[in-house]
C-alpha cells in the first residue's frame, strides 16, 4: 500500500513538473496572466471603484461574489463545529476546590452547583493557576489588539488588510483572554447565542448588501445601485459598499474563530477547558 502511495505521489509530482515546463518565465510581463485582464484592472480599477488598493477592489468588487461565498465557507465551518462538537448532554461532573483546605470536591449531579466565591473555586479539568504577570499584561494588551483589528478592517480599502485579517485579529484577542485567564471568563462575557447570532449577522451584512442592490435596480452586489438610497457619486459608493461587506466579513470571521476555539477547547461543553 505504501509503495502504491509512493508511486502515485511520484506520478502526480512528475505531472506537475511536466506542466510547469511550459510556464511563462517568472514575472514575465508578456505572460497571459499579466496581459489578458490584469492591465484593465490596473488601469481602470481606481476610476471605477475609488479604492486605491487594487487587491481589495478585485476581491470585494470585481470578484466580490467569490468573497461572499468564502465568508459562507467560514460560517459553514462554524456551523459544522457546533453540529459535530457541541455537547448538549447534561451529563457532566464538576470539580471545585475548597479554598481554605485545598480539598478538591467532585460533584457528579449535573444540576447541583456549589456557591463559588471566597470559599469554593472552580477547578477546571486542565486548570493551571494563572500567572499574575501574564494576566495583567494580557489585560492591558487586549484592548489595543482590538483597536488594531478595527483599524485593519476599516483600512482594507487603502492598505493591505480587510475583513478576514481584521476578524482574525479581533477573534484572537478574545482567545487570548481565554488563554490568559480561563475559558470560563470568556464564556461568561460572550454568550454562546450572541456569538452564534454574530456569525450569522456577519454573513447577513454581506448577503444583505448584495441583495439590497437588486430591488434598487442593479444586479446582485452592484454597489452603484445603492446611490438610489444614499445620494453619492456612483464610484465612491462602491468604496463604501466594499467597506460594508468587509465589516460583515470581519464580524463573521471573528465570531466563527471564537466559536471554533470554545468548542474545541471545552470539548463542546462550553464551561471549562484550556
Amino acid at each position: 500500500m505504501r509503495l502504491i502511495g509512493f508511486i502515485i505521489v511520484c506520478i502526480c509530482g512528475g505531472l506537475l513538473l511536466y506542466g510547469t515546463s511550459e510556464f511563462p518565465d517568472w514575472g514575465d510581463p508578456a505572460s497571459p496572466a499579466s496581459t489578458h485582464l490584469s492591465n484593465d484592472y490596473i488601469e481602470k480599477a481606481f476610476d471605477q471603484t475609488q479604492v486605491p488598493n487594487l487587491v481589495t477592489a478585485v476581491l470585494a468588487d470585481y470578484r466580490g461574489f467569490d468573497t461572499m461565498f468564502e465568508t459562507a465557507v467560514v460560517f459553514c465551518a462554524g456551523l459544522a463545529c457546533l453540529l459535530l462538537l457541541r455537547d448538549y448532554s447534561r451529563k457532566k461532573e464538576r470539580f471545585y476546590r475548597h479554598v481554605p483546605t485545598g480539598v478538591i470536591l467532585q460533584v457528579k449531579h449535573p444540576e447541583k452547583k456549589l456557591p463559588v466565591g471566597t470559599e469554593f473555586e472552580y477547578m477546571d479539568k486542565d486548570w493551571v493557576p494563572s500567572d499574575l504577570i501574564i494576566k495583567n499584561v494580557c489585560r492591558i494588551l487586549i484592548p489595543f489588539i482590538q483597536i488594531y483589528a478595527l483599524y485593519v478592517v476599516a483600512h482594507g480599502d487603502f492598505s493591505p488588510g480587510g475583513g478576514f485579517q481584521g476578524g482574525v485579529i479581533f477573534g484572537s484577542s478574545l482567545i487570548l483572554l481565554a488563554i490568559s485567564y480561563n475559558l470560563r471568563t470568556l464564556v461568561q462575557r460572550v454568550k454562546e447565542k450572541a456569538l452564534g447570532i454574530l456569525c450569522a449577522l456577519g454573513v447577513l451584512v454581506y448577503v444583505g448588501i448584495g441583495a439590497l442592490c437588486m430591488p434598487l435596480g442593479g444586479n446582485f452586489l452592484d454597489y452603484s445601485a445603492l446611490t438610489r438610497i444614499i445620494p453619492w457619486d456612483p464610484h465612491h459608493i462602491r468604496a463604501y459598499g466594499m467597506l460594508g461587506v468587509e465589516i460583515g466579513v470581519g464580524i463573521a470571521v471573528m465570531a466563527v474563530m471564537v466559536v471554533i476555539y470554545i468548542n474545541i477547547a471545552s470539548e463542546g461543553r462550553h464551561d471549562e477547558g484550556l
Binding site: L37, G64, D66, L79, R86, V203, M214
Partner: protein
C-alpha cells in the same frame, strides 16, 4: 424582477440558513419552515428560469454589473436549467422527507442540521449556474464542507467516515484548484466562455494537458468514480438518512455536471479528439467502474452500502456516456437521461432504505424478510425503484441503458455493449436478493395481529418516497415520448455535440 431570478434561486437558501440559524436557538420548528419556504421558492424560480431558457436560449447574469471576463457571470443554458430544476426538486423532496428522520437521529441539533442542509443546497445550486471556474471551486467548497459535516453527524461510525470523506474530498478539491491555477497561468482568465475562446491554440501545451488531467482527477474523486471511490461507501452508509439521500442524488449529480461542463465547455470536444487516448481512458474507467461497483454491490449485506456501490456502477454509466458522446449522433443524450433517471431512482431507494432503518432498525438485506407485511408501501417503492434501475420497460433505467447501448453500437465499441449487458445481469443479482427477501421468503416469525400497517413510515417520509419512485418510472415514458427532445438538442447544440461524428 424576472431577470434577477437566477440569483434569487441561489441566494434564497443562503438567506434561509442565516434566518434559520438566528431563530433556531429559540423556535425549534422555525428552521424547517424556513427551509421549506426557501427551497420551494428556489424550485419555483428554477422552473420559471428553465422554461425561459427553453424558449429564448441561454441566459446571462452579470454579478456586480461587471462585464464577464472582469466580473463573475452566471450563464444558464439547457443543461444548467435542467440541473437547477433537478437539484431544487430533490432538495425540496428530501427536506420534506428529512423532517421526521432528523427529529429522531439528532434531536438536540435539528436546527444546525437545517442550516447546513440549506448551505449544501446553496453550494449545489451555485455550481449549477455559475459561468466561472473559480466561482465553481468556491461553491464546491461550500457544498463539500457542509456535506462533510452532515455526513459526520450520522451514526456511531459516521465520524470516521466523515473524516475520510473530508481528507479525500479535500484532495479532490485541491486537484481541481491546481488545474484551474494552471489554466489561469496559461490563459489569464477564469471565465468559462473566455477560456473556451483562448484555449484552442494551446491544446498541445503541456500546461493545459496537465490542467485537464488534474481537474478530471479532482472531479472524479468528488463523483466517486472507481479508482477514486474509497470514501463513498462509508460516507453513504453511515450518514444520517436525509444526508444519504441528498449526497447520493443532488450532490453526486451536480459534481458530474461540473465534470461535463469542464470537459465540453472549457476544453470542448475538439480537445478530446486531438488527445485521442483521453477518450479511451475515460470510457474504460467508466466501464471498470460499472463492473467493479456491481461486483462489490453483490458482496454487500448492508442495504445502504449495497446502494452506495450501485451508485459507483451508475457513475460508471455516466462517465462511459461522457466518453462515448463525441463519437455518436446521440451526443450527450444517454448522459443527460441517466443523470436524471439515476437521481430519481437512487433518491427513491435511499428514502425507502432509510425509512426501513427509521422504523425497524433493519440495516441488512438478510433481515428484510416479511417487510412486505410490516411496511407494504415502503417495500413496494423499494422494489419499484429496483425494477426501474434494472431496466424493466418503461422504467428510467431501461431508457438509459437503451441509449447507452445505441451509443456504443454507433461508435462501434461492442465491448461496452457487453459491459452494459453484464452489469445488468449483476444488477439483477443484487436487487433480486432484496426482492426475494421482501416478497418471497416467509417472515421469520408470525407478525403480531395488528402489524399490517403499524410499521409503516410516517406520511411525511412516505410521500416524497412514493413521488420519486413513481417518477422514476414515469420519466422513462417522458423520455420515450420525446417531450424533452428539445432540451436534449439544446444541450448538444451548446456543446457542439450530436452532429454526424
Amino acid at each position: 424582477m424576472n431577470q434577477q431570478l437566477p440569483m434569487v434561486i441561489v441566494v434564497l437558501p443562503l438567506f434561509g440558513t442565516i434566518a434559520g440559524f438566528c431563530t433556531g436557538w429559540w423556535a425549534r420548528k422555525m428552521p424547517f419552515i424556513l427551509a421549506i419556504m426557501a427551497l420551494g421558492g428556489s424550485f419555483t424560480g428554477a422552473v420559471v428560469v428553465a422554461s425561459g431558457v427553453m424558449k429564448t436560449g441561454p441566459l446571462h447574469y452579470h454579478i456586480s454589473g461587471w462585464i464577464p471576463p472582469f466580473g463573475i457571470e452566471y450563464r444558464i443554458d439547457h443543461l444548467n436549467a435542467l440541473l437547477l430544476v433537478l437539484i431544487s426538486f430533490l432538495a425540496l423532496a428530501t427536506a420534506v422527507y428529512a423532517r421526521s428522520s432528523v427529529e429522531k437521529e439528532m434531536p438536540d441539533r435539528v436546527f444546525l442540521f437545517w442550516c447546513l442542509y440549506l448551505l449544501l443546497i446553496t453550494g449545489l445550486l451555485g455550481i449549477a449556474v455559475t459561468g466561472d471556474l473559480f466561482n465553481l471551486f468556491v461553491l464546491l467548497e461550500v457544498a463539500s464542507l457542509a456535506g462533510y459535516a452532515l455526513v459526520a453527524a450520522g451514526d456511531r461510525r459516521a465520524a470516521v467516515a466523515g473524516f475520510r470523506y473530508l481528507v479525500i474530498g479535500t484532495v479532490g478539491a485541491c486537484f481541481y484548484l491546481l488545474g484551474v491555477g494552471y489554466l489561469y497561468i496559461a490563459t489569464g482568465t477564469l471565465n468559462i466562455k473566455d477560456l473556451a475562446v483562448l484555449l484552442p491554440p494551446l491544446y498541445g501545451s503541456g500546461t493545459v494537458i496537465t490542467a485537464f488531467i488534474f481537474i478530471l482527477a479532482g472531479l472524479a474523486i468528488k463523483i466517486a468514480l472507481f479508482p477514486f471511490h474509497a470514501w463513498q461507501p462509508d460516507a453513504y452508509t453511515h450518514a444520517p438518512s436525509a444526508v444519504s439521500v441528498i449526497i447520493s442524488t443532488a450532490a453526486a449529480k451536480t459534481f458530474t455536471y461540473a465534470l461535463i461542463r469542464v470537459m465540453f465547455s472549457v476544453f470542448t470536444i475538439d480537445f478530446m479528439r486531438s488527445n485521442a487516448p483521453m477518450t479511451g481512458v475515460v470510457c474504460w474507467t467508466g466501464a471498470a467502474s460499472i463492473i467493479i461497483g456491481s461486483v462489490y454491490a453483490i458482496a454487500q449485506d448492508n442495504l445502504k452500502r449495497m446502494l452506495a456501490y450501485s451508485s459507483i456502477a451508475n457513475v460508471g454509466y455516466l462517465v462511459l456516456g461522457i466518453g462515448l458522446c463525441g463519437a455518436t449522433s446521440l451526443g450527450l443524450k444517454p448522459v443527460v437521461v441517466h443523470l436524471v433517471n439515476h437521481a430519481l431512482i437512487k433518491g427513491a431507494m435511499f428514502m425507502a432504505a432509510c425509512a426501513v432503518i427509521y422504523r425497524q432498525e433493519l440495516r441488512h438485506i438478510s433481515g428484510l424478510q416479511g417487510l412486505s407485511r410490516q411496511m407494504p408501501v415502503t417495500a413496494l417503492m423499494l422494489v419499484l425503484a429496483s425494477l426501474s434501475m434494472i431496466g424493466l420497460p418503461p422504467g428510467g433505467g431501461f431508457v438509459s441503458k437503451w441509449y447507452l447501448i445505441l451509443a456504443s453500437i454507433e461508435s462501434g465499441q461492442w465491448g461496452f455493449v457487453a459491459v452494459i449487458f453484464v452489469s445488468t445481469l449483476l444488477m439483477l443479482v443484487y436487487f433480486w436478493r432484496v426482492i426475494e427477501m421482501i416478497y418471497i421468503r416467509p417472515p421469520l416469525s408470525e407478525p403480531a395481529p395488528v402489524t399490517r400497517w403499524s410499521g409503516e413510515q410516517p406520511l411525511g417520509m412516505m410521500i416524497p418516497c412514493v413521488v420519486l419512485s413513481v417518477l422514476s418510472f414515469a420519466i422513462g415514458l417522458v423520455w420515450m415520448s420525446g417531450a424533452l427532445d428539445g432540451l436534449i438538442q439544446g444541450v448538444n447544440l451548446n456543446f457542439g455535440l450530436g452532429g454526424v461524428p
